[in-house]
């Protein structure tokens, strides 16, 4: 399309974009900082992941916002220098926090709302990360009040930081306001929520999914059930740390007449005595696998959820943090999948959840129809066109940056 996209990323994402042929710039990691104690990290968070969304506010959400604000402050100077060097025409911000270097870059910036639609609040919508139902109730206010409390110190530091950079502080509990130029949302129609304050269609573009294209995936040969329907299990690279829970799931899988692909991330070699109808790997080209799968069991990450909808695959969502809770609830409310508690399930409950979705012809048909319209909407192209439209309103140097 005539522009050159380059990516600025955290070193933790190094290599993701170059593998697809894009330029990639990392924001320097502070190597002098002590390495985090791995065992402690797992222990701390595995406990937090067992809690309700409300209890996680204290144990996970608050500390995570603290960490995000720390990162934003730490990368400000290198980011400012890098943006000055790259001289982009437009900056696409796919993050949950504002970086003053972007707001002050002197070029338009586009916000990608990378989480569930609840990230852009509305009086008719349950609070972000709450996993609450769409029916307003006391729990909405209770959650919001607690959210304000646990994010207060991070928000104070963040507001002061923005103030030092000449920006006005954001409203309470908000770390990233909508872009005055363009905001892109993934949420497809089938799961979209009602709003009292209707979003300006020029400023808020719903993409109806935005799924990357991967090379076709050739399913491995299993030791049995090679003709059976396929299920993909992926909880993201972080969720894969839950080895004991996944091993429990595998016991159930071994008794079901389906094939199961499991993304075990870094822990692939922790699995022994794998059943004949199960295949474990450390990475899958997810969109291509979801396309072939009859069922996708995931953590409710927004990309996973959108990929399932884009290919018409029913979801069982077993969330453990962040907007996974919102997506799990929304999947049930809109009849595109099931919400299963991540830990509190019996073998029978997991087996019947899987079987019921495998056998639900009506849901499958509805999802397939929806998939056709999502694919027609061509979200990737639409996003690129919308971004370029913003870019061309400014003098062009032929570069766009995604941060």
């Amino acid at each position: 399309m005539g522009h050159r996209p380059v990516f600025i990323c955290h070193p933790g994402f190094s290599g993701v974009f170059t593998e697809y042929g894009f330029g990639e710039y990392q924001l320097g990691d502070d190597t002098s900082a002590p390495a985090t104690d791995w065992n402690d990290f797992i222990e701390r968070h595995q406990d937090a992941f067992r809690q309700s969304p409300f209890d996680q506010l204290q144990s996970y959400v608050g500390p995570t916002w603290d960490a995000i604000v720390d990162t934003a402050i730490r990368v400000e100077e290198p980011l400012r220098q890098l943006v000055a060097r790259l001289k982009p025409d437009v900056i696409v911000l796919d993050n949950v926090v504002m970086f003053p270097a972007i707001a002050n870059a002197g070029v338009p910036w586009v916000r990608v709302v990378s989480c569930a639609e609840t990230e852009i609040p509305d009086p008719l919508m349950p609070p972000y990360l709450s996993g609450c139902s769409e029916t307003p109730g006391e729990e909405w206010e209770r959650f919001s009040a607690r959210y304000r409390e646990v994010t207060a110190s991070a928000h104070r530091r963040f507001s002061a930081f923005l103030g030092q950079s000449g920006l006005r502080p954001p409203p309470t509990s908000v770390f990233l306001e909508p872009s005055p130029y363009l905001n892109l949302l993934l949420a497809p129609k089938i799961i979209r929520r009602k709003r009292r304050n209707v979003l300006d269609e020029e400023l808020f573009v719903f993409l109806d999914g935005c799924v990357r294209h991967e090379a076709p995936y050739v399913s491995p040969r299993f030791a049995s059930h090679n003709e059976a329907p396929l299920a993909l299990i992926s909880f993201g690279s972080l969720g894969a740390m839950d080895v004991a829970m996944i091993k429990r799931m595998i016991e159930t899988f071994s008794k079901l007449p389906y094939r199961f692909l499991i993304n075990a991330g870094h822990w692939r070699d922790d699995y022994r005595d794998v059943p004949d109808n199960v295949f474990i790997d450390d990475w899958f080209p997810q969109p291509s696998v979801v396309e072939q799968a009859s069922l996708f069991i995931h953590h409710g990450g927004n990309n996973s959820f959108c990929e399932a909808l884009y290919f018409g695959t029913p979801s069982i969502i077993m969330p453990y943090c962040w907007d996974g809770h919102d997506n799990a609830r929304r999947a049930e409310e809109t009849g595109v999948g099931l919400h299963l508690d991540r830990y509190g399930w019996s073998e029978n409950e997991l087996a019947s959840a899987i079987t019921s979705l495998m056998d639900d012809a009506a849901m499958r048909a509805r999802l397939k129809d929806n998939a056709i319209s999502m694919q027609k909407a061509a979200g990737v192209k639409r996003a690129a066109e919308a971004i370029l439209k913003v870019a061309t309103t400014m003098p062009s140097t032929g570069l766009s940056v995604k941060a």
Partner: protein
């Protein structure tokens, strides 16, 4: 699983592949006659196995029977992928592949007996034994004490790819700079033709199987040409084992296209006799091939998070 081994065995498939390699190196074009006697002496075997191998090629429509007897080449040998030798119903190859798949997938343990695998796959004793022999030839199994066979899990574990790159980084550039390195010009020319065909492809039509063949042939050629029999043997065994193992991870077409260009560059420097430069390019090539995909990334994961701590 069918317990009956078919007549076609992997040695005939290997020979069929060799015939295609010879045809490629001699620059043969579609329509040219494949003379049994000449092939027999080039491949150093008698005419009977050559006939068997030609039949396999005919079944796969890579050669056609000539009205006057014998066979004609039906394809450009530079443009086709390596022959698959794990055809359905081919007892020992099928079991060989199943053992490797199950070992890589964590379904079977490293220590095995013929009897145990006979029960698992419901095949004859001989079939399992032949599969073990083939695995041993590829350095993927060795005899243990008593009835035991030890499968080499390290060669196909999750870390195998990273360890393999580490090993190759230490050895392949060195192989290129050994004093008695001998260039095999016909093989290099044939290989270059295949690489140029790949260079003409794009991300959507990229032929992964043809790439796999050129990748294997290219690295094997360097091993064979290095002029030191110990190094040649070590590298050859390593590449053979690499090829025999189930693929580790998923590499997208963009990277494979880059990798093909790197192969061409290295080949050009070998042709020019610039062996130090070829070795430097090889170092770069191997390092670029190591996947840099992050193994853990997520919100709340601290920046100084080090997986090695585990």
């Amino acid at each position: 699983m069918t317990p009956e081994p078919k007549r076609t065995n992997f040695r005939h498939v290997e020979l069929a592949q060799k015939i295609l390699d010879v045809a490629g190196e001699r620059g043969m074009a579609p329509g040219e006659r494949l003379a049994e006697q000449a092939l027999a002496s080039l491949c150093n075997v008698s005419r009977t196995p050559i006939r068997k191998a030609l039949q396999i090629l005919a079944e796969r429509e890579l050669v056609t029977a000539d009205a006057e007897g014998g066979y004609l080449l039906a394809v450009d040998p530079a443009a086709i992928a390596r022959l698959e030798d794990t055809a359905e119903g081919d007892g020992e190859s099928e079991i060989y592949a199943a053992i490797l798949r199950d070992l890589a997938a964590g379904r079977i343990a490293e220590s095995q007996t013929v009897a145990a695998l006979q029960r698992r796959y419901e095949v004859s004793r001989q079939t399992v034994q032949n599969a073990f022999v083939k695995l041993a030839e590829e350095n993927l199994a060795e005899r243990g004490s008593g009835q035991q066979w030890l499968l080499k899990h390290f060669a196909i574990s999750g870390d195998a790819a990273a360890k393999s790159y580490e090993f190759r980084l230490a050895t392949e550039p060195l192989a290129l700079t050994l004093p008695e390195f001998k260039r095999d010009i016909p093989a290099m020319t044939a290989l270059r033709q295949s690489m140029l065909i790949l260079r003409g492809m794009n991300e959507t039509n990229f032929d992964r199987k043809l790439f796999d063949r050129t990748d294997y042939d290219f690295h094997l050629l360097i091993a064979r040409s290095c002029g030191n029999p110990f190094m040649a043997e070590t590298l050859t065994n390593h590449h053979r084992r690499r090829r025999a193992s189930p693929p580790a991870g998923h590499v997208n077409a963009f990277r494979l296209m880059q990798s093909n260009l790197e192969h061409i560059q290295i080949l050009e420097q070998i042709e020019r006799g610039q062996m130090e430069l070829a070795a430097d390019l090889m170092r770069v090539h191997i390092q670029l091939s190591q996947s840099q995909r992050p193994r853990l990334a997520g919100r709340g994961v601290p920046p100084a998070f080090k997986l090695v701590v585990r």
